[in-house]
Amino acid sequence: MLGQKAFLSGNEAVAAGVRLARPHVIAAYPITPQTTVIERLAEMVEDESLKAEYLHVESEHSALSACIGASAVGARTFTATSSQGLLYMAECLHYASGGRFPVVMMNANRSLALPWNIYGDQRDSLSLLDCGWIQVYAEDAQESLDLIIQGYAVAEHSDVLTPMMINLDGFVITHTYELVSLPAQQDVDAFLPPFRTVNKMDLDHPMSLAFTAGPAYNQAFKQLQHQAVLAASKVILETEERFGQLFGRYYPGLLETLFCDDAETILVTLGSVAGTVRPVVERLRSLGERVGLVRIRYMRPFPEAEIRKALSGAKAVGVLEKDISFGYEGTVFTNVNSALMRAKVMPPRLLNFVGGLGGKDISAIDIERLFLRLKSPDDGETVEFI
């Protein structure tokens, strides 16, 4: 059954997706540019179009801590944050994943202080890549909404039981309005059954949760956690297939490729920048240039095999990211490079472009320049700032 269409910002699309997913508990603390998500959710709770407990917590740490507590009695939970707020949650991020509490959280990608800045880059979430969460990066409002609904199905899957961070580029996605298809509630209810778990406190069968495990046992829990995030790869594909059948929108798995089958020069990126790269690639293609695009959707689990496959025939690959690990290179580049090195399928040229920090504009002209740059034989610096 078809739902309605609405003109929504990325944040509003997220809120609409959350309402459709029927969480029991929402705990939220405001931070720009996440605020309109939690404002819309508060309105939905007020007008009872969403039946949820809405906790006005006093910090992001408490927001996630409360979600973990609610998840620990078997409730479905949602929170949203950004930037400094995500960092303030850091302890709870590891707590949620270690305890296997499938919280779904939206993060509005935003620069980190200092200097202060409210605009988009991805240093917030990428600096927390190792916190054990599934990390996905949306490209537009529709995908954001769909990822919220799919996110619960993936995170709560018994093979996964891992929290999920859905990243939207601050302002560029969170505040840009688009026409969005809203799935019908009964279809979402059919797609997303109520959360069931044994990993909870239960008055009929008392449990001890979030316990200590000493050196003899601790690593086993970490291995299980690793297995769970790896297992998410398959669950994501199955979930997208099921979603496509119900709602007619199919997603391409952990990453999306454009013209990579015969491309000589490929740009790898993630998030909203892909929306800038795509028309450039299409235009250069129309001029006969064999260029391509890889849009990484999921950073964890990392699409290792898919990266190898997409880049195996390329002569030059550039990784463009809004992130840097100071003193070395971009984190996305490190991950892509590692996937290629392990498979010994190194393209002759592999460059790391870093741009968009603190919201610095990345234009179509910049992208064309990067494709030109990839053709030049100069290996240049480890990181090239654009």
């Binding site: 408490s62 801590s65 316990f211």
Partner: protein, 305 residues
Amino acid sequence: MGNRKEKRISIRELSDREFFYGHKACPGCGGSLALRLALKVLGERSYAVVPAGCMSAVGFIFPQMAFTCNAIISTFPGTASMLSGVAAGARALGIKDFHAVGFAGDGGTADIGFQALSGAIDRHDKIIYICYDNEAYMNTGVQKSGLTPLRARTTTSPAGKRLKGAVTHKKPMFEIVAAHGIDYAATASVGYPLDYLRKLDYASKVDGTSYIHVFAPCPVGWGYDTSDTVSVAKNAVDCGLWYLAEFSDDKFTLNHKPAAFSSVGDYLLGQSRFHHLGEEDVKDIVAQRDARWSRILREWSFCDQ
């Protein structure tokens, strides 16, 4: 409440069931006694939230689980926020007749957990927050907390030639919590168990946030014999350095007024953390006690429960 008399729980009425058993707390631990008694009153439909600290470290070491009711370790700052989440989750799932009860130490309450506690009280969330106060970070080896009393020696407030232990006062948590307009707050001591049990029973019936601050001595950190925990906790009240009181309906009530204070010097010098104190130091502490008590007697009503 106010001047109304509440029914006391007698020993005979108290549940025979043990909800905190086989734990690894040090012998004579006041905190574990406070926790054990609380769960006896609150019962099997309790969700206990215990932050990083002594009670979590001794109660959940896989595969040895000392809580027999539902229990979860929270992050160190997250006792109150996790309690709120547990309560909200259970409510949203339609679970009825439960208690979400937290057990945090003095540092976990007055220092790192203070912000989340303040938030929960502000929301009037229906939770019971119990601070077991042993006056220092004991789990990490007796470091000074915001509830370490003036001049107590800890490993981070050593007593030397220049400084005589802690240079700061114990934060007045009971009054800080009350200033939020909390639904119910009380102080207690494991040295006055029946008073503590009555307050737990009262808290269990409050439709809102309850805070109980229970004085819970630590033989290892304070330096006294393990058998003296209850008597030290009683002496603290008898000498006036701790007090038994309640706050509800915007009113403070003192529950216990010693006819004459017992010796502060005997209380202090019976613990090695105060062995460095001289006569003048004790006099100072007595003067501060008297100033506090004159204010308490002036401003609070009295109801001996």
